[in-house]
């Protein structure tokens, strides 16, 4: 079950935000951590192998080589979150974004406060305190989020894209919206489902879409034929609202 909160809107229709849990949050962090580690590491490798600079803080060249890598590593989050209004590459890949408690994008000061408190969230090691906070707080927030008044929410961009797909399907089909979405989802996930499972699902669906169909004939149909029949139903102009 996903945690969600409602935010009041001037339209009178509340905005529903799906809160990202500790798992999604950690996933985004790990992606970002790899990105900044790779960037900083790449910089140091170039300095060492291409420019032949000894990587030590005791020489000016060495220090100036280490400095950009350190900046990339430690200022990655504050700089990118401010520039991308509450997002980072890792958060985008994990499908989450930072929002303020009113559902809008967070301000610069809120993002900076959120990042300053990483110092506390990372105590005693490996973001332990922050992770524990995410497990025990109502909105799954770490200390930095509490101080800044921000939330990490799921950014369901795929759902937005699916609007166009549903529109196209609804225009060309006479199936009810529920049936349409169900058949479309089964077809979309067809290749990822196990053969026995998808055959069973397809037969059940087809029996409900077309109650008059011969059950024996359906049982005799192979995997590919069942898929083709579902596809035909999706594009059919015959009303079938039994699902």
């Amino acid at each position: 079950m996903t945690d969600q909160i409602s935010v009041e809107s001037v339209t009178g229709v509340d905005l529903t935000l799906q809160i990202a849990g500790p798992g999604t949050r950690s996933y985004a962090f790990v992606i970002d951590w790899h990105i900044r580690l790779l960037l900083a590491g790449a910089w140091l490798l170039i300095a060492y192998y291409v420019f032949d600079i000894a990587l030590t803080v005791k020489s000016a060249a060495g220090f100036l080589s280490i400095l950009p890598a350190t900046i990339v590593y430690f200022l990655y989050h504050p700089i990118l979150e401010v520039a991308l209004r509450g997002s980072t590459p890792g958060k985008r890949m994990a499908g989450v974004r930072i929002v303020s408690r009113d559902g809008g994008p967070p301000g610069t000061s809120a993002l900076l406060i959120r990042n300053i408190f990483r110092l506390i969230d990372s105590l005693p090691a490996a973001y332990m305190l922050g992770l524990v906070c995410c497990f025990v707080t109502a909105n799954r927030v770490r200390v930095g989020d509490m101080a800044a008044g921000t939330l990490l929410v799921l950014d369901n961009a795929a759902a937005e894209r699916s609007l166009q797909r549903i529109e196209a399907l609804a225009t060309g089909s006479q199936l009810s919206l529920d049936a349409l979405e169900l058949v479309d989802q089964v077809l979309e996930r067809w290749d990822s489902l196990e053969s026995a499972s998808r055959i069973q699902i397809a037969r059940t669906l087809l029996r409900r879409l077309d109650p008059g169909a011969d059950a024996g004939a359906l049982d005799a149909l192979a995997d590919a034929n069942l898929r083709a029949m579902l596809q035909a139903h999706l594009n059919s102009n015959t009303a079938a609202a039994h699902v």
Partner: protein, 325 residues
């Protein structure tokens, strides 16, 4: 009679408008500024989308159509509620109003932290004067060895490392200490109080130790230029940490979380000034403090002038005068 065909018809009838909203949101999210017409158009689309979402939630609550509309509504809400980028005007407000307001609010706590640091320094002085072996608790073996040989550990430091590099290392360290003093306030201010007391103890102990070896004047000469602002900034960060802790212990709003959040937002601008001041301190500590060519008078003048600048910046007078002109 099933209303399924009507839902599908309704979807098909509204889909074009939703497609328009998707494009509008994508365009507005890319733009830095929007025209009045674009803003009004977005508000109108927001109203329309709210109506459609309310209908979708009622007629098809668990459908992909509804979750698509929820997502679109959320993005449009974000675009409409986007805060303007302030630019120079926001910076002026920060330095003329927000920082002075935070400094004024914290004035009693800043004085308390100064007092705590002074008392801790006296305690450190007394401890090392009474029990000289205790210096090993406050200073590294390398530092103790240097002083016992009659030299400060800071002597010749610029021969080992260029001033610019030294400055960056010092300012980074000082900024981390200040941020830590601020953030440690979340532990009911105990973390902050510990940090300030430890800094004071170390300072007093170091002075007592170098005094025993006749190097107190040399250490004073070293810290005269950067010390006043550096120590003041640590006290200010400590005062901010104490305020944070107090906001949790004695909340002024409905909940402790709200009180903590409001306090962090109110006083955080002062942390920015602290960081800027510490950048200046870092450069003074890298270029002026270890350089023997600077006489004591110059060091004291630099230290006093920088300290005065710090108070002027905290009062906000400089920016208010500028704004009046």
């Amino acid at each position: 009679m099933s209303d399924a065909p009507y839902i599908r018809q309704w979807l098909v009838a509204h889909a074009a408008a939703w497609r328009g909203v998707v494009q509008r949101v994508a365009a507005l999210r890319m733009q830095r500024n929007a025209t009045v017409d674009e803003a009004l158009g977005a508000v109108e689309a927001y109203r329309g989308l709210a109506r459609d979402l309310a209908t979708a939630r009622r007629v098809a609550p668990n459908s992909r159509m509804t979750s698509g509309l929820e997502s679109l509504y959320g993005h449009l809400h974000g675009v409409i509620n986007r805060r303007p980028r302030g630019g120079m005007a926001a910076l002026r407000v920060l330095f003329a109003d927000e920082i002075p307001r935070a400094a004024y609010e914290l004035r009693a706590r800043i004085a308390s932290m100064g007092l705590l640091m002074a008392l801790s320094a006296l305690a450190g002085w007394w401890l090392v004067t009474t029990f000289p072996t205790l210096i090993s608790l406050f200073a590294s073996d390398d530092m103790i060895e240097h002083v016992e040989q009659g030299h400060l550990w800071t002597e010749g430091i610029i021969n080992v490392m260029p001033s610019s590099i030294l400055s960056i290392g010092i300012l980074a360290n000082n900024i981390v200490v200040s941020i830590l003093a601020f953030c440690a306030g979340i532990f009911l201010a105990l973390g902050t109080l510990y940090l300030i007391a430890m800094n004071g103890l170390m300072l007093g102990a170091a002075f007592a130790f170098v005094h025993q070896h006749g190097l107190a004047r040399a250490l004073f000469e070293f810290i005269a230029a950067h010390g006043p602002v550096e120590l003041s900034v640590i006290c200010i960060a400590g005062a901010m940490g104490v305020a944070l802790g107090e906001s949790i212990i004695r909340p002024t709003l409905e909940s402790r979380r709200d009180s903590f959040q409001a306090c962090a937002h109110r006083i955080a601008p002062l942390l920015l000034l602290c960081a800027l001041l510490l950048v200046g301190c870092g450069f003074i500590e890298g270029f002026v403090s270890p350089d023997p060519r600077f006489p004591m008078v110059s060091r004291i003048t630099i230290g006093a002038a920088y300290w005065l600048i710090m108070w002027i910046l905290m009062s906000g007078r400089l920016f208010r005068v500028h704004a009046r002109r």
